[in-house]
Symmetry: D2
Subunit: 355 residues, 4 copies
Amino acid sequence: MAGSTYGTLFKLSTFGESHGPAIGGVLDGVPAGLLLDLVAIQQELDRRKPGQSAIVTQRKEADEVEFLSGLYQGMTTGTSIGFIIRNTNQRSQDYSEMSKAFRPSHADFTYQQKYGIRDPRGGGRSSARETAVRVVAGAIAKQFLAKEGIVVDAFVDQVGAIKWTGEWNENLRSIRESNPIRVPDSETAIEMEDLIRLVRKEGDTIGGCIRCVINHVPVGLGEPVFDKLHAELGKAMLSINAVKGFTIGSGFDGVTMRGSEHNDIIQTNGITLSNHSGGIQGGISNGMPIDFRVAFKPVATIMQEQPTIDSENQAVSIKGEGRHDPCVVPRAVPIVEAMAAMVLFDFVLRNNAVK
Amino acid sequence: MAGSTYGTLFKLSTFGESHGPAIGGVLDGVPAGLLLDLVAIQQELDRRKPGQSAIVTQRKEADEVEFLSGLYQGMTTGTSIGFIIRNTNQRSQDYSEMSKAFRPSHADFTYQQKYGIRDPRGGGRSSARETAVRVVAGAIAKQFLAKEGIVVDAFVDQVGAIKWTGEWNENLRSIRESNPIRVPDSETAIEMEDLIRLVRKEGDTIGGCIRCVINHVPVGLGEPVFDKLHAELGKAMLSINAVKGFTIGSGFDGVTMRGSEHNDIIQTNGITLSNHSGGIQGGISNGMPIDFRVAFKPVATIMQEQPTIDSENQAVSIKGEGRHDPCVVPRAVPIVEAMAAMVLFDFVLRNNAVK
Amino acid sequence: MAGSTYGTLFKLSTFGESHGPAIGGVLDGVPAGLLLDLVAIQQELDRRKPGQSAIVTQRKEADEVEFLSGLYQGMTTGTSIGFIIRNTNQRSQDYSEMSKAFRPSHADFTYQQKYGIRDPRGGGRSSARETAVRVVAGAIAKQFLAKEGIVVDAFVDQVGAIKWTGEWNENLRSIRESNPIRVPDSETAIEMEDLIRLVRKEGDTIGGCIRCVINHVPVGLGEPVFDKLHAELGKAMLSINAVKGFTIGSGFDGVTMRGSEHNDIIQTNGITLSNHSGGIQGGISNGMPIDFRVAFKPVATIMQEQPTIDSENQAVSIKGEGRHDPCVVPRAVPIVEAMAAMVLFDFVLRNNAVK
Amino acid sequence: MAGSTYGTLFKLSTFGESHGPAIGGVLDGVPAGLLLDLVAIQQELDRRKPGQSAIVTQRKEADEVEFLSGLYQGMTTGTSIGFIIRNTNQRSQDYSEMSKAFRPSHADFTYQQKYGIRDPRGGGRSSARETAVRVVAGAIAKQFLAKEGIVVDAFVDQVGAIKWTGEWNENLRSIRESNPIRVPDSETAIEMEDLIRLVRKEGDTIGGCIRCVINHVPVGLGEPVFDKLHAELGKAMLSINAVKGFTIGSGFDGVTMRGSEHNDIIQTNGITLSNHSGGIQGGISNGMPIDFRVAFKPVATIMQEQPTIDSENQAVSIKGEGRHDPCVVPRAVPIVEAMAAMVLFDFVLRNNAVK
């Protein structure tokens, strides 16, 4: 129960540090008989990988996944899928200073205190590199969801104070994929990109938001009481590095609303006039689009000198080295989609069980 | 895995509908040898129970817990604690109309669709009455946390658009408990109370926010990757009825900040200058106060006529009957504390395991 | 994870001591829409209850189950079923001596050492009374299995050295139920009964075996590797009080066989010529009857004086008081069936999930 | 929940088929700060690997484990340990016939029926090759147990009808390791070896038994009710390929005993005069040696012609090809030890949690 496993029936167990030989996972509970589209899986990894555009970290990792089991002639066999991604572009020397001093607001301090030991290279287990493994599992989940018609789309809707407030539809997918921010609007993309470049120039970082819309969800996913669908989505999102907030539907805006205004009136076709519920009522999907937002704080590692302490509790100063993202949200879009897909498919399986 | 169990080592399994004979639970993983303060447990139930003030639902439930096992001469024996709370003030006839029509934004529709059957009286399993069971388990968790010095305090900091933005300290506890809102400021309490009375008069409901501060947390609680401390807190909060959002530390405000501003500088005493992290870094507590906020939507059941559909998909109109809260946050304070206490103590046990 | 929960999807959490106010459980993962036969559930409890014949303990417990949730108009709603059985015939004074001294081969010593405290009345949590809760859950599982055509039958096939070596068929059910031993042969029943009477007269106890045959099992239940069907059945049986051994199919007799003799030849109708496998191959049911045996040791509490130690490590002697079974197997038959039914139905649900 | 994960706190998730690129696992819940003895881990693998003596399968697999994470400078970091073992000596052509026909008493038929697809090469996921992964995890568990003084020893005590009935002590370890059978008696080893050679010559296979003794176990390991220590040991053993039976302490021999004879009298030093309990009472260790036995059936794949059916339900005949063990018990000794060590250490962690 040390936290490296996610899911109830569709279950991912992960391992790997940023600068060890490889990261990887075991995905269990995969139904038999699906011919996996391996190209699509690699494409998801490419959406997450470093070095893909000018505004993200310039580390070069191929992020090629090697499948070791669970497939026969490309088809899932119902047994666990083991896979690894080799780490290829480590520059451990970049972390020599960090091995002594604790980066402010990073996991350096807490890992050291909890375990009495840590792999200081690249953040070790706390590195966001770990999320590549989630992207592989999520890409597989997406292929199973596609069979049910369920489509998961995330996109950036805020960088710093710049917001995009349009409504998502699937036609925006090509625009989202054509700009390095992954916002579904080309002009907003340019503004956001400019802000990120400015921030990076200052050796600083900036936060952002991702919104996720899941369409064509059947009624009935989610379990009563503790395993409400949005509770599990919330946990999944909050488990992603740098996430500080999660809202479903109206979120914090619902606080100031009256019930008479907030209630989603159901029509005879089962469709509601509004979607303040975000597609989930009483923890169970109601057939409307699931709609949630995730807040990411600015990356802790900055290229500016900051005071801190080292492992001997001495006051020192630290300045980030290595190659870091000035803003995580562009690369976090496929991670949000991956976690959402894993949660949804897990609930599909849980629902199947008792049908 | 149908969602009625919470926790990894300190584990609560619950049952019960609003209008059945009783609700209750089994609490397993309780360490042996603590003399339970049963009065304190009942006090927590009293903080949650209906009818406690003029601005909450006027149902009268004694909410008396009966312990059935796991205690010998008042002391925990290390075996599972079974307990029930009898339902005593049911007026099932209030729900006759609801048994046919689906209340908008309520779980009526989704339960009916998922299961093909539901207990229509009082919301059945989806009723917030279920949370009384959590309050019992949380009150027990609090007594174990007290042995570690950990103190959990929640309070209302927003009703509708009225906010209290002060800083929490334990001296405010008596103020919080002396007003029916459970906001730690007497003047704000009056404003909020006035708003709730107004809203109720209109047959409407209003949302609100609860903030929770956990003091004296040791460094090292929480697990890497999926079971980050704030991810589990987020799930716990989002599993409470009517919750639509969760933030830790800076939350959505962190999005617009620069890293240089957001980073919490660590001093040689281990204390950070700011607490944008909300007491958790890399998913693990850093010894600063854990600080999170929870958004509650307005209650779905309103005393106004609304259009909806019935189980035969016919358009009908519905008007809430029965006795409902115009605003849930005053009674949700002990629930937030209970879930937070359960999460924290579960991580204390998980941490003990590998020490 | 303190051991009071069983099952993956069909999940029972139990509580209760022998001499507390009640025992009970929460059964989660129950599919919606089955009209429960409550009489059949009570009948199973009656098969387990004390005082039912001259050769079992003469305690009088009504063992009446009270359902508290999860049913609406007698039908399962898909939500957790809470239930209790009140303890009504406690004679705690019978245990005054036992509260100081540790009964040899009983759980008194290990509980005291593990927890530093124990409920000494009637064995507390270690009492076989706890199994009544399993019988309720198992009786519900049986009703769901019946919908799949699966039938679980256990029977006594050995008491002391007296064995019944016939083959089970469903016509023997009436014979099994017509004798107090629950062996499917009337003459053997008399022999076994005589032995038990003799043993009891000596103030002693005797062991026995139960065999369980599950017919009409579909092919495909069980999971590869760790959760093999017979591994889970083994755990379930070994978790019953006094069980010291479990075999599936050929069991220990298979050790001396050659592969050429042991292999079950498959015919074109899928039926195998022999069933040394006991209905399970590679951890997965093959459609043949599941066939296993369970060994029960003699009950530890005897009516003879025995040396032992007390909680101060002083040598003392102890003689059982209270009303105990001279041989557990007659009353253990419904417990074996209950656990087997719970395991089977859990695997039915797990199999449904990925279909 | 598809069965590839074992353990509650010390948790292994495995993957891999016999003839895929690699097998491996993720081991989570590993405490930080232990310098792993990698040589000792490889030695355990060598005890299991094929080709180690004349009487086991002559496949040549190096079985070299590659650790991918969770270690820093050889020391455990508290994060999950990922590892793989490459498959190097596959002769898939040996399985061409088997891909069509179902080997009697093998998992071929059940996997095909359950999943509609299977990897026919070498048994795929049902291959005992999977147990090499368990041996790695078990070897790590052993090193943690050694810190607690707990020592796990298994040995062969029966091959066919030849039994060794001596008492185990740690001085016998060198004898056990000096013969290819792993029986702690040189003369019995020769007899058993002769029998295995004879059986192999006939193209046949033979069963056997392994006994496991765990010394220096503290009092208090194991949990009440469902997670009794011997129940979990039973599940662990029954999850090993070819196992058909498990007994603890007196096992099936206890059935014919009287309570007065079976009871283990406790002396003032806490040591019992006999150990019919096998070191566990009420599911919890009592400080005496844990002592259990495991029955292995003869290997299903034989070098004789047998009738069977193919995937089109046609009657065919099959004769084993490839290189198989005539008797599994010599190579199963380290597997039994590994699973026992994993179970014990998991309960050590569970016990730590609530101390």
